[in-house]
Symmetry: C2
Subunit: 435 residues, 2 copies
């Protein structure tokens, strides 16, 4: 009897490492897919881990709910939208828990209210403040897989909130952080993070590792694998995140982790292109103190994100500057109307809009301590007769604005110049152990 | 300033009477129907009432969810079924709140968790223990219509429960009780409660009033207007319930209330037929003490409801009885297997099953103090050559088992004998004020 108790103590679930798995809407789009997901979960549990699963709403559920809401109102209240949309995950967690039970795996579904995924009181884009872990841990100790509704939260006064874009990824990563999980696996329809878009460069190679910082830069410049918010959350909690394919379970995907935990660093990890921006040049702005502030403050108030900014002397004799900046194409109309309002104050001559641009970025944590990377980028583009319209740099990223028609050639030449193609990568990086 | 405060005090929302309105799944089956329901709500609010609305899941949502669950598991856990099914009302309350807001009516949706509709910890058929009213009242004081998810509840430890059949009706009536509402309006696809099934007797008349007791008896014998559980809850809280049509808002339907509040009593209010039962006769049961107990205890343990029971001397010389009883047709197989098990103890000779029966009932609170009603029923049936196989009576109901083929004639002749046709009723009962 005593021995039994000791044995329990040694092999009890409390001792197991926790892995958080997240499955998106396409992975749970119908009941057959849900059964497959259940198998992927059991496979991971059989490795000896405690499993917490985060799921999104099934397939097109959210689109369907949004459509009904818009049949009723052009502008439905965000509180009621959150009430409406949060039901989607209620369906998928219940069905997935049933599928697990059906395959002999004890499981229990939990929504944000039952767990206590506490958010600020902001509808449609709430931020997580705190996650209670007591109940989840108690279920894990009973040997159950805990199936959690992603995307949703609850406020102190029991209002239902949703986390907005990238919400379920963020739920999963934040849960992994709160539970001190050894890893958060994001199952998706891509096989991982690539050195560049394989549709542009066919021999782009899958990265086995990437740092949070690199991933953030890649995510922001258009590699739509993981929402930047989820990456930021992972960085904050230092949760290793593995992006992998739901449909190729043997493929380990890409592990996103702290740069200090990475193995080898090449100076450049990936190349990305982004066609979603346009460039505005405001000409002959009077060079008075505070003119730039007037302009960009106006844009900030209207919630327009400005990416790159360059100010240059236009006509020295008139003491004026040209101010060039990039914005999302969708913000053009509003930006022009703001420019109209501040025209009298800024005294500019005219405004040029260039909407045929591409932003080409090279990203790499390794470039910090290796000089000459920027020079190599500029030379590569020059050698290919590609004109650079703007340049911006951060510690681990260099971005150039080029003509839209040069986007493909830019990515191809840079990918080649920095030796990112498949074979080389495989050689340099070797194989990672499954953490 | 002082005057403004006094005026507020006089006309403030606190002073208003509360009406609870309940709309079933067919009333909110699509977004157009939801918009119509919003109009019906605003119409009632404009009469000067505070409105709490209870809605079911949209149209076939529940069927769709159940179908998916069964694609995954033949026998899904009731906890996960409750998690799954409770999402249906989440959708309809959010959409209805949006529709009200869109029509300029302040509204807020609330689920069982947000309100605190506390139930016992039993999945799929929980009973309501307590309903918190603070938050609802606070929203009503702000002039809002509160749209409540029917059918669902929550336990003390935040487990989601559902109330089972008739759940949304029960939610509505219980809320009306807890809020001390002046009335609970159940909007449905029928126009009210009739003296008998209008498909059998075309000149059946709509009852303007009926007592809780009569409604309970009618509900149990097959008038599918309101679930007995909801009627019982209404009786317990003394909530007047009006059953009315969603599609004919000018029709006041039928008011169900305490017998002491009713106006005129005819001895018989309605006639009902029920074809869902069958009769079992267990022959030559040894007349030992406790034999009936052995039989009916066995059925009770298997959760089989026995309706009518008659024990009669079979063969006096052998000291045996015949025991006849009626059960739902669906319970036959299980009943026979229980009979098999107790055969040795009861020493009966054989079992007859008669599945071609109809139960014909006359119901009326007025029959309590008027003798001769039963005699008139039996004579009416005899005059029509209808043989009576079993009889059972309660204070306000007399039921006879007849041959299935005599069902229609029984109802017609009794309806005529007790003068329940349209004109007579209208004359006797007059018109009720809209309470």
């Amino acid at each position: 009897m005593l021995q039994a108790i000791i044995t329990n103590g040694q092999t009890g679930n409390k001792m197991k490492d926790i892995v958080v798995q997240k499955f998106g809407g396409t992975s749970v789009a119908d009941t057959d897919k849900i059964k497959n997901v259940a198998q992927a979960i059991i496979r991971e549990k059989n490795k000896g881990h405690d499993i917490v699963v985060v799921v999104s709403a099934m397939g097109h559920t959210t689109d369907y709910l949004v459509k009904m809401a818009h049949e009723i109102s052009a502008n439905p209240s965000s509180r009621e939208m959150d009430m409406l949309l949060s039901t989607g995950e209620g369906v998928s967690i219940a069905l997935l828990a049933m599928a697990l039970q059906e395959q002999g795996c004890p499981a229990v579904s939990m929504n944000a209210m039952q767990i206590g995924i506490m958010t600020e009181k902001v509808h449609s884009k709430a931020r997580i403040i705190d996650i209670k872990t007591e109940k989840i841990k108690s279920y894990l100790e009973q040997g159950k897989v805990v199936v959690v509704a992603g995307f949703q939260g609850i406020t102190e006064d029991l209002e239902i909130t949703t986390l907005g874009r990238g919400g379920s990824d963020t739920s999963a990563v934040a849960l992994a952080g709160a539970l001190n999980a050894i890893r958060c696996d994001i199952y998706t329809d891509v096989e991982g993070v690539y050195t560049t878009d394989p549709r542009i460069v066919p021999n782009a190679s899958r990265l086995e590792q990437i740092s949070y910082g690199e991933m953030l830069e890649l995510a922001r410049v258009g590699a739509n694998v993981l929402h930047p918010r989820a990456v930021e959350t992972a960085k904050q909690y230092e949760v290793p995140v593995r992006v992998r394919s739901t449909f190729k379970l043997d493929n380990l995907g890409t592990l996103i982790l702290g740069v200090e935990k990475m193995e080898l660093h090449k100076p450049v990890t990936g190349v990305a292109s982004d066609l979603s921006q346009l460039r505005i040049v405001v000409c002959d702005v009077k060079d008075n103190p505070g003119t730039a502030a007037i302009l960009f403050n106006g844009l900030a108030i209207a919630n327009i994100s400005v990416d790159m900014i360059i100010q240059s002397y236009a006509r020295r004799e008139l003491n004026t500057n040209d101010i060039a900046f990039t914005i999302d194409k969708g913000d053009l109309k509003q930006t022009l109307s703001i420019l109209e309002k501040v025209k009298a104050q800024l005294e500019f001559s005219n405004v040029f809009v260039d909407d045929k641009i591409a932003k080409i970025s090279i990203v790499g944590a390794g470039m910090i301590d290796r000089p000459g990377i920027a020079a190599k980028m500029f030379k590569t583009l020059a050698d290919n007769n590609i004109n650079i319209k703007m340049i911006a740099t951060s510690e681990i990223k260099i971005s150039c604005i080029v003509d839209e028609n040069d986007a493909k050639k830019s990515v191809e030449s840079l990918h080649e110049a920095f030796h990112l193609e498949s074979d080389e990568i495989a050689e340099v990086r070797g194989t990672l152990p499954d953490v």
